[in-house]
């Protein structure tokens, strides 16, 4: 199997852009026509509605973008039926040839971390058989618990030919409370990035990019630039572009001089660019996707100069 970092680079090359479509489905934002078909009698109905919406989004974006990122919280919030919807959405995305990053920001220790990792990536072995669970191509992981919390995810990823993205610098306003604390002359997120780079060195693909990437928010282009320069081997997953305020110019700093190395996520900006009452919501999604692709293609080109 082609290593994850090479699959990701190839997907970006094929589609010609680094846009990752974030699937953060929320009942209150869904098109009204769709909500009406799923009268809310139970969470199962909500789950069915968000599944239908996400499958439609996948159809609309699959030929245009390389990657999608389902946010597990919005499926989990619909209970077990929501988790079935998550499986259906990931299955369809992979059928459509998309790379799937499960954004679940998991983090725990020892056999618990193994359970999360195998659920997300390699699948679970019971009674001598292997069962896929969420079956994503990559998963996001929280580093607070340290090396032995991240390693089971890396091990599971390497068994499955998949990848891990570790939170380094997040895009929220309060991210700095702990991530910016300075010790030994460097901020915490810089120490985390250095550890991620070390873990990543064991899984480099043919372009010098590896299977343990970093989540770095679009909200500070100077931090993006500094981390990009320090760690040329890291794939960056960049949230915060679009609805969260990061611009294409902000994210340009995330690319390497060869124009690859970063995928840029937009969730609400691409999937909810309409009012629930708008009958032309599908057209709005296509237009928003095309607009983001245009901006990001330009940003990639600018990085290459």
């Amino acid at each position: 199997m082609t290593p994850f970092p090479d699959r990701l680079a190839e997907a970006v090359r094929c589609k010609g852009n680094p846009l990752c479509v974030g699937l953060d489905p929320r009942w209150d934002l869904l098109p009204e026509t769709l909500r009406k078909r799923h009268a809310v009698e139970s969470l199962d109905a909500v789950a069915a509605a968000i599944e239908e919406f996400c499958l439609r989004v996948l159809d609309l974006v699959a030929s245009r973008v390389p990657v999608v990122k389902p946010q597990s919280a919005f499926f989990e919030v619909c209970g077990p039926a929501g988790m079935s919807a998550l499986q259906a959405v990931i299955r369809r995305a992979k059928e459509l040839g998309l790379i799937v990053i499960l954004d679940s920001k998991r983090g725990d220790i020892a056999s618990t971390a193994e359970a999360y990792a195998d659920a997300a990536l390699a699948g679970v072995t019971a009674g001598g058989r292997r069962f896929p669970v969420w079956d994503a191509d990559a998963v996001t992981v929280n580093p607070y618990l340290g090396r032995d919390a991240v390693e089971p995810f890396i091990a599971s990823a390497r068994r499955a030919g998949s990848g891990v993205f570790v939170l380094v610098r997040t895009s929220n306003a309060g991210a700095g409370l702990f991530q910016d604390r300075i010790s030994d002359g460097r901020k915490l997120y810089q120490h985390v990035a250095a550890a991620v780079a070390e873990w990543n060195a064991g899984g480099l693909g043919s372009r010098g990019l590896g299977d343990v990437g970093a989540v770095v928010g679009a909200t500070s282009s100077s931090e993006l630039a500094e981390l990009r320069a320090a760690h040329p081997g890291l794939w960056f997953l960049v949230p915060g572009y679009g609805a969260q305020g990061g611009t294409a110019a902000d994210v340009a700093a995330a690319f390497r001089p060869d124009g690859i190395g970063a995928i840029i996520n937009s969730s609400r900006g691409v999937t909810f660019p309409f009012q629930p009452t708008d009958p032309a919501w599908e057209t709005a999604i296509v237009k928003a996707t095309e607009r983001s692709i245009g901006e990001l293609t330009e940003a990639m080109r600018a990085a290459r100069r």
Copy 2:
């Protein structure tokens, strides 16, 4: 409704001990008699087996201990059916009068954190109706993303009269990689503890203990003692006692001088003190529970001297 910190203190007082039974069900550790009833043809069968095991454990421990802590990873790893099992286990635990801490170590930002929080605690509103999802009494949260990642959990907890436990110092060998980094003269976990204490100050109950507690591993009693002295208003959830190597003497430092303020978790030590082939596994669980209760009651008493 009685505030969470008071409910927790009352449960510890009623049962006379601070033992939290961790539910980390693993297929390969289950009693063979039980596994044979659930031939592994699918993950649904594995989920049914772990549900049956956990429900039996609840029956055995409910009259003896105040708190149980299902570990969401071991349910999630069985897919959607595993999440249904988690719901059934939490429902039964609450019927039995136990306090339930959902150990899912979630952490994300803004509306995503809200979704995780409402799923765990307050329930979800859709179409003007409220639906409970996991419906726990408290949930564990990862602080790496900062204040705006933790606040939605606190808000959801306060709407529901429930609680939050924030990871401060974890019990794994590699915990220090980031948690021990020193800035402004204090380790990162000490800065986190100070932030938790500040959040907790807004939800104090009648004994001066609040609704935002701290997870502090049993593996270093000097750290426990230092955090206990610094933050008398924090409930501590202490993992690492038993199978992970922490002794009752180690955890004694977690209690306040009034003998309350900490619940001590044991997972494998209490729930898997048997070989899968042992037909007397239920007796073994009761004995291990009684033994741990004896040790911890002594530790609580020692703290009071």
